[in-house]
C-alpha cells in the first residue's frame, strides 16, 4: 500500500488537510504540538487505497526537538510526501520543502491558507514556483476544502528532482532567491485582528485581556453547564426516570442485595439520585446529569480557545509565573487541558522539552488540577453549602499548585529551558472543527467513564455488603479522623477515588458532613491519588521510579494540606 506522509511546519493546517483527505476525525488545533503523537488514516487514490500519515509538525529536518526527530524517522518509511506549506509565510516554509527535495522522495506541495494571501497583500506566482521547485504546487484552503480535489489528483504526479544536498546557509540563500522571484508584497494597513493580537502579548493590555477571556470562559462554562442540568437533565431524571424506578422498586422488594445494586437505598421512601447509589439511580445520574453537562461546556470553551489561537498568547503572559514553578509559559496548555481531564493533560506534557519539566508539570497536574468530572461534583455538592466553600477548595488547590511548584523547582535538579514559540494569527474558529472536536471529546468521556462508573457502583455495593469497607475504615480511622477530622467512613470514598473521582465525591454526600469537612474532603480527594486512568499514563510517561516519586509527593502533600485545612476550618 502506498504510504503518503503529510509534512510541514507546525500551524499550517496539516491536520485539516489530513481530515479532508481521509475523512477520519483527527483533532485539528491552532497551537503547535498537538500532533506529537501522529495520526494515521486511509484514502482512495485512483483504484487503490493509500495510507495517510499526519507527521508531527517540523520546521527543519535537522531535528531541534523530539517531535522533529520522530518526523525525520517517519520520513524514511514513506513513498510520497504531501508538503503542506503556509502560503503567508513562504520563506520559512520552503526551507523544509528544499530539505525534503534533497532527500529524493517524491513531493507534492499544498500551498495552504491560500485565502489569507489576498487580504495580507501577498501575490504568489504559482507557475513560477512550480518551475523553480520542479514539483506540483496546488493552492488549497483546507478549512473550507478548496483545492483538495486537485491535490488528490496531483499526488500520482509527485516527482523528485533531487537537488544535491547543500549547507543550510546555501539552502537559505536559495530559498531567498526563489521567494524574491515568485512573491510580490503589496502595502496594506493593519487589521483590527492584528491590533488585538499585538495587544494580547503586552503586559497591561494582555493581562487585562487574559482576565477577561478567563472570566468569560468561566461564566460561559457555568452558564452552559447549569443550563443543561436545570433545563434538560434534571427534568428528564425527576419527571420521567424517577417514576419508572419507583414502579420498579416494589417489584424488586424495596430492599435487599439486588435491589440495592440496581436501584440503591431509598432515602425516606424516595429515590435520591445522588445518595441512593444504585446502578440505575446514581450510576446514571452522576455521569449524565451532573458531570456530562460540565464536560460538554468545558470542552466547547477549550475548543474555541484552541482554534482562535489564544492559548500561545496565554503562554507568553504566564511565562514569568511558570518559570518560578520550574516550567515555562507553554506548560499552561497541559495545565488547562487538565481542568478537563488529567489523562490528555499528562500526555500533552510531551510538548515540554526536558524530562525535568515533564515531571514537574505532570506531578502538579495530577495533584492540584481537578478534572471537569470532579469539579462538576464539587460545584454540585459543595456549592449547595455556599459559594464561599467552593472558593475555598479552588483557592487551596491554587495555592498548592504554586507552593508545590516552587518547592519542586528548588528540589529537582536541572534548570528550566526558555520559551520559544510561534504565535499564530487570531482566526475565527471554524465551527465544523470546534463541534467535531467537542463531539470526539464528549464521546471519549462517555465510553471511558460510564463503564467504570457503573462498575464502581456495583463494586462499592458488593464491598459494603460484605463489610470490607468497614474493615478498611476501622483500620485507617486514626489518620482519617484525627488528622483530617473526617468520619472514618470517608476513607472508602478516598479509596474509590482511585476508580472515579466523581463517584467518590458522590460517596461523601450521604455522610452528612459539615461544610468544613466537605472542603477538606474535596481537597484531599482532588490531591490524594490520581484516578486509575491518569495513574496508567503517569506510569507510561514518567517511568516507574519517577512515578513512585510523584506518588509519594501526592500522598504527603494531600495529608499535610488536609491536616492544615482541618486545623484552620
Amino acid at each position: 500500500m502506498t504510504k503518503i506522509l503529510l509534512m510541514g511546519n507546525p500551524n499550517v493546517g496539516k491536520s485539516a488537510v489530513f481530515s479532508r483527505l481521509t475523512g477520519v476525525k483527527a483533532v485539528v488545533s491552532n497551537y503547535p504540538g498537538t500532533t506529537v503523537s501522529y495520526t494515521r488514516g486511509q484514502m482512495k487514490l485512483g483504484e487503490d487505497t493509500a495510507e495517510v500519515i499526519d507527521v508531527p509538525g517540523t520546521y527543519t529536518l535537522e531535528p531541534t526537538s523530539q517531535a522533529e526527530e520522530i518526523a525525520l524517522e517517519m520520513l524514511k518509511g514513506g513513498d510520497v510526501v504531501v508538503n503542506v506549506v503556509n502560503a503567508t509565510n513562504l520563506e520559512r516554509n520552503l526551507y523544509l520543502t528544499l530539505q525534503l527535495l534533497e532527500k529524493g522522495i517524491p513531493v507534492v506541495v499544498a500551498l495552504n491558507i491560500w485565502d489569507d494571501t489576498k487580504h495580507l497583500g501577498i501575490d504568489i506566482d504559482i507557475d513560477r514556483l512550480r518551475q523553480r521547485l520542479g514539483v506540483p504546487v496546488i493552492p488549497t484552503v483546507a478549512v473550507t476544502g478548496q483545492g483538495i480535489k486537485e491535490l488528490v489528483e496531483a499526488i500520482p504526479r509527485a516527482t523528485s528532482p533531487q537537488p544535491p544536498p547543500t549547507s543550510s546557509d546555501k539552502r537559505w540563500a536559495k530559498v531567498g532567491n526563489i521567494v524574491e522571484e515568485v512573491q510580490r508584497l503589496r502595502h496594506r494597513h493593519h487589521t483590527w485582528r492584528e491590533r488585538l493580537a499585538d495587544a494580547s502579548v503586552r503586559p497591561f493590555t494582555g493581562g487585562f485581556l487574559a482576565l477577561a477571556v478567563l472570566a468569560s470562559s468561566f461564566i460561559i462554562v457555568r452558564f452552559i453547564g447549569e443550563g443543561l442540568i436545570n433545563y434538560i437533565f434534571n427534568p428528564i431524571f425527576d419527571n420521567l426516570w424517577a417514576p419508572v424506578l419507583m414502579k420498579l422498586s416494589p417489584l424488586m422488594g424495596s430492599e435487599g442485595f439486588w435491589h440495592d445494586i440496581v436501584i440503591g437505598k431509598l432515602i425516606s421512601g424516595e429515590i435520591d439520585f445522588v445518595q441512593s447509589f444504585g446502578l440505575l439511580t446514581s450510576g446514571l445520574y452522576v455521569p449524565l446529569a451532573m458531570v456530562l453537562p460540565y464536560v460538554v461546556a468545558f470542552y466547547f470553551m477549550l475548543g474555541i480557545l484552541e482554534d482562535t489561537g489564544y492559548l500561545p498568547r496565554l503562554a507568553v503572559l504566564m511565562d514569568n509565573v511558570m518559570h518560578r514553578l520550574g516550567l515555562h509559559g507553554y506548560a499552561i496548555i497541559p495545565t488547562l487541558l487538565g481542568l478537563g481531564c488529567n489523562v490528555p493533560a499528562v500526555l500533552s506534557t510531551r510538548i515540554l522539552e526536558s524530562k525535568r519539566e515533564r515531571f514537574i508539570a505532570a506531578t502538579l497536574i495530577s495533584i492540584a488540577v481537578p478534572c471537569a468530572a470532579l469539579q462538576a461534583m464539587i460545584i454540585g455538592l459543595v456549592g449547595a453549602e455556599g459559594w464561599q466553600y467552593v472558593a475555598m477548595v479552588y483557592g487551596t488547590l491554587f495555592i498548592v499548585w504554586i507552593v508545590l511548584g516552587f518547592i519542586l523547582n528548588r528540589a529537582v535538579k536541572g534548570f528550566s529551558p526558555e520559551l520559544l514559540i510561534e504565535i499564530p494569527p487570531y482566526r475565527l474558529p471554524p465551527w465544523r472543527t470546534v463541534l467535531q472536536k467537542l463531539w470526539m471529546r464528549t464521546y471519549g468521556f462517555l465510553v471511558e467513564a460510564i463503564p467504570i462508573i457503573l462498575g464502581a457502583v456495583v463494586a462499592i455495593n458488593v464491598l459494603y455488603y460484605f463489610g470490607v469497607f468497614d474493615a478498611i475504615a476501622n483500620f485507617t480511622a486514626p489518620v482519617v479522623t484525627n488528622l483530617l477530622g473526617l468520619p472514618k467512613e470517608a476513607v472508602t470514598a478516598i479509596a474509590i477515588g482511585f476508580l472515579r473521582k466523581d463517584v467518590a465525591m458522590g460517596m461523601l454526600a450521604p455522610l452528612a458532613l459539615t461544610s468544613g469537612q466537605l472542603v477538606v474532603g474535596s481537597v484531599v480527594l482532588a490531591m490524594f491519588f490520581p484516578c486509575i486512568a491518569t495513574f496508567v499514563v503517569l506510569l507510561r510517561e514518567l517511568g516507574v521510579v519517577r512515578m513512585l516519586k510523584a506518588t509519594g509527593i501526592m500522598l504527603a502533600s494531600a495529608l499535610i494540606v488536609g491536616g492544615l485545612l482541618n486545623l484552620i476550618l
Binding site: L120, V201, P203, V316, N320, L420
Partner: protein, 79 residues
C-alpha cells in the same frame, strides 16, 4: 550613536531592525533559524513582558515569542 548594535531585550516596542548575530550554541541557532530568525532578517519588536519576561517579535508576518535569556543573545542593528 543610535545606529549602534543592540539586543532584542534593549529594543523599544515598535522599533524595527536587522538581525546581526545569534550568540548561542549550535542548538539554539538551529532552533532560531528554523523559526525564520537569521542574520540579515528584518524584524519588528511587538512587545516585551515585565520582569524579564519573553519578548515577542515579528519576522516575515509571523510572530515569535522568545524567552528573555535567548532574546539577550540576539543582537540587532536598528533601522
Amino acid at each position: 550613536m543610535d545606529k549602534a548594535p543592540t539586543t532584542l531585550v534593549q529594543m523599544e516596542r515598535g522599533q524595527r531592525g536587522t538581525v546581526l548575530q545569534l550568540q548561542g550554541g549550535r542548538g539554539l541557532v538551529n532552533r532560531l533559524n528554523a523559526l525564520g530568525i537569521r542574520p540579515g532578517k528584518k524584524i519588528t519588536k511587538v512587545s516585551a513582558m515585565l520582569m524579564r519576561g519573553p519578548v515577542t517579535i515579528e519576522v516575515d508576518r509571523a510572530q515569535i515569542a522568545i524567552g528573555f535569556g535567548m532574546a539577550k543573545k540576539i543582537t540587532v542593528k536598528l533601522d
